[in-house]
Subunit: 294 residues, 2 copies
Amino acid sequence: MHKRLQAYLEYYREELQKAYTSRFDKLEIPANLKQSMLYSLDAGGKRLRPILLLASYEVYGQDVQKVMSSAIALEMIHTYSLIHDDLPAMDNDDYRRGMLTNHKKFDEATAILAGDALLTYSFELILDDPLLTSEEKIVLAKELAVCSGPKGMVGGQILDMEAEKQSVSLEAMEEIHALKTGELIRFAIFAGAYLANATDEQLHYLKQYAYYLGLIFQVQDDILDVSGEEEKLGKPVGSDELNEKSTYPKLLGLGGAIEQKEKYVQKAYESLKLADAEDSLLKALTDYFSQRDH
Amino acid sequence: MHKRLQAYLEYYREELQKAYTSRFDKLEIPANLKQSMLYSLDAGGKRLRPILLLASYEVYGQDVQKVMSSAIALEMIHTYSLIHDDLPAMDNDDYRRGMLTNHKKFDEATAILAGDALLTYSFELILDDPLLTSEEKIVLAKELAVCSGPKGMVGGQILDMEAEKQSVSLEAMEEIHALKTGELIRFAIFAGAYLANATDEQLHYLKQYAYYLGLIFQVQDDILDVSGEEEKLGKPVGSDELNEKSTYPKLLGLGGAIEQKEKYVQKAYESLKLADAEDSLLKALTDYFSQRDH
């Protein structure tokens, strides 16, 4: 990994943690609920989504404090979705990134409520941010609701459940991914650039970029589940096979999946160029995500 | 019940159903998710919260279309909380109002996601309403997040769980109720009056009113669980006793609980008077809720 990118990732992971920690310090809520919310937030690993948001902002804008509430809100939405996903009724996972999942560390009821609380509080964070104009608050909070709700992530989760244990086409699989993981990535890229006053044309091509980036992320996930190292992943390899999930390697073979990823990377590059973001950290992040080993 | 009140309740229940149905008709989301969301929305009985919102608006304002998105959003939040509350990990209820609970009708995973979807979509509804000004959207969506999130309803649910199987003081119990059920009632009363341009003084006293109304609602719930008729309630009587919950009858005796309710009713009347809402439907609703048999 480039030194510059690595330093960037480390720096912003720390900034994000500081930012949400200081907000939680001031938050007067039941202690057990706060602990449960923070447990899963702190367990967060790569901070992919908020870092994409920061990177997208920095293509066109300056002081990242402007986007910090949106970045944290996005990470909270992602975290809530993982807590609910891990529940026995859903994926029934006891561990995530080598740590106990929320419902194993606390209990199921607390985990459900901690997820609900993170989801709800994410909107308050944005709507209460003094650094945002009224227009910005409305656009961002509404977009967050669209991307994460029934038209977006939650819709994708339902489709994903329905597609389990049956073979689906590449197109159907990509539609599921576009909703389930793609919409939050789209929010990240949109929110950053929007708050940096990117033009409508730039936003248009960034939306395209976000679409391909989401697919890159997913195909690499599928590839790692076949060929990754358990120690780096922090989870068992081969779980997709076990769960009879439709994946890129299953539909295209491992070689085909890697080829497909390369196609998406080229598309992502093209979109970035058209959005005047060719030399930005977004490009380095695209490479990073397409080559990550965990 | 007064004929006028009855007609009012019936009329607005229909209006509310029409309003959310027309929104769901236009909503392009996975069919199974929509069915699950609508199943629980349609199963809604009294529509207490949105009707309070409409009644609060009508004390000072005219065309109720102005508050319809807030009223539906509130009912969706209430509905999501019931779906999650009924889950096996929480109250583990198979029936609600004589109908199968969401996770029994569908499955647990779908119920969790339908709850998440209702919660998230409620914010979109308000933020996307062309009848609201930017300022109104922000105030309402933020207030909804505060009332329903970790500082409000969800916080109350956590405290309620912690208080189970131990005896708590009347004060502690009332704090739990104020959060768990009171905050959504506060939102209802606030949102209606705010959108009708009530003065700050009126809003102040209405907040007091909402506090007492919430307690009235709770004490009557507790009373019905001891002395109600199962057929009217649509649920077994005595479940609080079974769940070792702290209730008004347990702390004060049945007679003491009824006396306490009367005190709250008087306080509620006083607050309404100070808010210039003495002769409004809110007063009739106060009586209705304090005397309801289901």
